[in-house]
Each structure stands twice: as C-alpha cells, then as structure tokens.
C-alpha cells in the first residue's frame, strides 16, 4: 500500500501556477526526495500536504483516505509532521517546551486539568517529558535543552525543529530543506539522523533538498519538479542519467 498518494494536484495563486497536475506515490518506510530548481513548487507541495494551502484540483490520500479537506491540526494528529524552510520555532520558549508542543495532540488534559494541575496534568507532563527526552537523546541536543530557542545558533535550531517534528511520533516526516545553510559536517550529521529516523524509528521521510550529493546518497526514490510540474521520478541512478533532469536542474557534466 502506498502510504501517501498525491493525485493531479494543482495549485494556483491568481495567475501564478505553483503546482500543475502533480502525481506522486510515497511508499511506507522510504526516503523520498523532492528536488528541483527554486520556485518549482516544492514548498507549495508540502504546504498542500500539511493543509496550509488548499489546492484547486486533485487529491491527497493518506493510507487510502483523502486528507484534502482536513485542517492542519487534524492532519498533524493523523501522523504527518514537518519542518520548515525558514525555521518556525517558538522563539521565546526553551527547547523542551518547543518539543513538548510537538506532543500537543497526544495530550488529553485540557484547561480544567491544567488549572488543578496536581492530578492528570502533572502525570501527563511527566509522561511526555520522558518521551521528549528520548528525542533529545536521539538528536544529541542535551546541552541546550533549557535554552531559549531564539538564542541558539542556526544549525542547532534546525535540529530542534527536527526534534519538534519527531516529538509528534509521526508516521510521515516532511523535511523542507533540512541542510540549507549548513557546512559539510553539519550536513553529514543531518544525513545520519535521517537514516536513523528511517531505520530506527521506521518513519517515512519526504525530503525537499538542494544538496544533490546528499540526496543521491541517502534517497530511495526521487521526484523532480520544475515550474510546478513533475518532470521525472526514479532511483538516484535513473535521475542522475535522465536528460530532462540534467537539462532543467543538474546541469551538464554531473
């Protein structure tokens, strides 16, 4: 079964067509990369999946059910998490709180339990704090867990945002340019984490990326977008040798 299926997705803003009849299938447990030049519609694709944008045409089916008309927070509860191209962390909270927010939809306590804290709310706080600490361990960010997120260096912030998405215990993880602005070492760290996420946590990863070397290394399947349309898909080797892709994006001699 395809875990996520995108059928004929079309998205337009006034006269500008961001996505045109895009069709993709995401298989469970794979690392699926989406590449293409800037403005190709990759982030728009993610925004459609998350429910932030409503497409004009087409359908998005998650585990055989359409999620097209669901609100973003409902899509999150179903198990789809994401990170953002420009970091969208909650700058005035510390790392732990940001991660705990990722667990928001798994909490059951509401305002009443919150006010009378010492019963259910306390139990939940501790239970979810334990889970969050597991994510912190996994991403090796123990040192900064009490720091206010706005004060952290860029690379660590990106990791915290990854942690926040992982705290949701998602089944699908959408990563929007996880290595942008990073040097070689940091990129390798992220690549290692992505592989761990796939193998240890068994989470499906859909990744928008510009770092082609990294994509070719770790992706199982690649979809190429250009000007809002899909121009190719296949294994890394197939994409590398696809003339359309080379012409549009990779350039001669790659």
């Amino acid at each position: 079964m395809d875990q996520l299926e995108i059928k004929n997705l079309t998205l337009a803003f006034g006269g500008i067509v961001a996505l045109h009849q895009v069709t993709m299938k995401i298989r469970k447990g794979e690392i699926h990369a989406v590449i293409g030049p800037n403005g190709a519609g990759k982030t728009s694709l993610f925004n459609c999946i998350s429910g932030v944008y409503k497409p004009m045409e087409g359908d998005i089916r998650y585990e055989e059910n359409s999620i097209l008309h669901k609100k973003p927070h409902q899509i999150a509860s179903l198990g789809i998490a994401r990170t953002f191209q420009n970091i969208e962390l909650f700058r005035h909270m510390n790392v732990i709180d940001n991660l705990l927010l990722g667990r928001h939809h798994r909490f059951r306590s509401g305002p009443l339990s919150g006010v009378f804290f010492w019963g259910r709310a306390l139990r939940e706080e501790i239970k979810h704090r334990r889970k969050v600490e597991e994510v912190i361990d996994f991403l090796e960010i123990e040192k900064v867990r009490k720091k206010t997120v706005g004060t952290l260096p860029y690379g660590i912030q990106k990791r915290v945002e990854l942690g926040r998405a992982l705290s949701m215990e998602p089944k699908i993880l959408l990563l929007d340019e996880p290595t942008s602005g990073m040097n070689v070492e940091e990129t390798e760290d992220i690549a290692r984490f992505v592989l761990d996420i796939k193998e240890e946590l068994e989470v499906t990863v859909i990744m928008v990326e510009h770092d082609i070397a990294m994509v070719m290394d770790i992706a199982d399947w690649i979809t190429v977008l250009n000007f809002g349309s899909k121009i190719a898909e296949g294994t890394p080797f197939e994409i590398q040798t696809n003339p359309k892709v080379i012409e549009a994006y990779l350039g001669e001699g790659s």
């Binding site: 927070h73 999150a76 909650f90 927010l101 919150g114 709310a121 706080e125 501790i126």
Partner: protein, 350 residues
Amino acid sequence: MVIRSKTFRESYYEDIKLFQTVWIRVWIFLFLILLATLPLWGNPYVIYLINLSCIAVVAALGLNLLIGYTGQISLAHAAFIAIGAYTTAILSSKVGLPFWACLFASGGVAAAIGFGLGIPCLRLKGLYLAMATMSFGVVLENVLITWDKLTGGVRGINVAKISLFGYPLDSDSKIYYFLLVITVLVILGIKNLVRTRVGRAFIAIRDRDIAAEVMGVNITAYKVMAFTISSFVAGIAGGMYGYTMGYIHPEHFTLLLSIQYLAMIIVGGLGTILGSIFGAVFIILVPELIKGIARFSELLIPALKGKYNEEWNIAAFGLLIMIFLIFEAGGLHGIWGRIKTSFKNWPYTY
C-alpha cells in the same frame, strides 16, 4: 550528611515544581504571614489599597493570559469586569444568592459572553482585533446604561454584603481575607495553566500560529478558549469589585479602565505571571505615591500648597507610562529579573 553545592533536580517532577528551592517557599510563607496579620497592625487605608490591588491582580492576570500569552489584543476587558460585577450585584441583591454562587455565576456569564465574542473575532489580528473588541466594549457600556430595568442604568445598583456562615463581611478588613484567598487561588490556577499544554499552546499561537497549527494545535479552539478563560477571570474580578465597593455604576467600567489594565500588563511585563501582579499593584499604588510626594513637597515648598489636585495624579500616570516604555521594554518584570541576576552574580558585576 551530604552538602549540596547547587540545586539538583532528580526527577522530572522536581524540574517542573512551582517553588523550586526551599528558600522561595520560606519567603513566600513569611510574606503570607505578613499579609495575614496586616489587619491587626496595619493602617486601614493600606488594607483598602490591598483590597483594590487584589481585584486588579486577578483582572490583570486574565488580561495577560489573552494578550501577553496568546497575543490577542483586547480592549474589552472592562466590559467583562462589568458583566461580572453586574451579575454579582443582581444575583446577590435581587435574588439573594450566596457569595460563592454569585462569584461563580459572574465568571460563568462573563465567560459565555467572552466565548461569544471570541468566535467572530477569530479572523482578526492586531489593530483590527483591538478595534473590534473596543467596539464591543463601547456597545456594552451603552447597554448597561440603557437597559436600566436590569442594571439600574445611571442610578447604579447595590451589592449585598457577603455572609460567611451567617457572619457578614461588612468592613474592609473582613473582606480583605476573602479577597486575598481568591487572589491566591487565581494566581495558582493561572500559573498552573500556563505551564501545561494549554499554556504552551497559547504561547505558540502568539509566536507562530501557522506553525502551531501544523504541529497539531487547534488554533480556533484555543483562541476561543483564551477569550473564554480571560473573560471568566475578569468576571470573577468584577464580582470581587462589586462586593468590595458595595455599589456599582456604569461609569466604573469605561474604555479608560480597559486601557488602564492594558497599561498594567505592559508596564508589569507581558506574558508573565509576576509581571501581571507587579503591574497591577504598581498602577494601583502610583496615584497614592504621587499624592504622598505632592503632600511632601507642599511641606517643603509652602508656595505649592493648594495647587495639587487629583488631576496631577493622572498626568503623572501618563508620564510614567511614557518614561517606562522609553527606558525599559521588559516592564517591571524585566527590572526584577535584572535585580535577581545582579544578586546572584554579586560581587561579580558581569
């Protein structure tokens, strides 16, 4: 015996406890003892001021929850305090319900109306939200005056005295304990709320609402929740006000009052519990401070005698807000934080 060199937290519970060290608990305990014994040796005017401060603290906490934590600007706070005050007034004097029922009803009615206001305001942000809430406040003020069959209109309405187990609370000192207990409960309740899931959701909405929604926060539900809880607290403050004053009138609840509360939380520190408390007490006490300074300077410079009137208070109040904002963006809470840090680091200044 093992001597600790630092505060170690050995469980997650200890990490999120309200009062982290023994010292904090000692200080708070002493402070509460001080407050509890005040009526025995304190000046009755001070008691009255503390009563007013309690009411202000409760209302300010409610407003800070909405504006400081959730980022929704509201100029309707006075309206909800009014709803609470009038509910208490009507239920206590015309229906004769006991105080706990009246207070709860005050909160409930205010919350229901707050809920009603929150829903249409969902799409509004910033200045537009401020204007919409302001309109609501103005219209409600008008309703209070024109619906005089219910509210007594411009004649105002009396509030019956609270009767505690048959013992009437008919003086400032007696109602003092009543107000203190409620204030402490509200502070605790909101402090708790803020460190759980709901509080985090509020802050997330303020900081990055689209990202919050993608993370699973139902923004619609939580924005309306913020309005509802904030109005509930305001309603309770209104009830407290009614019982303290004994008589309420539409003129007590104008747009100016909403602005005053806005000043309280900005000067005190947006988005902090301590800030709400500091700000509320500060704004209540400042007029007294200025009166004191005026009286003092009258003694020093006899030429000034007789020139002072209430209006200088208000002028100074406005001036203070301006000076405060120009020099200290974090408000009183920011200053408090800096004092604490300098204490911790003493004698190292850096």
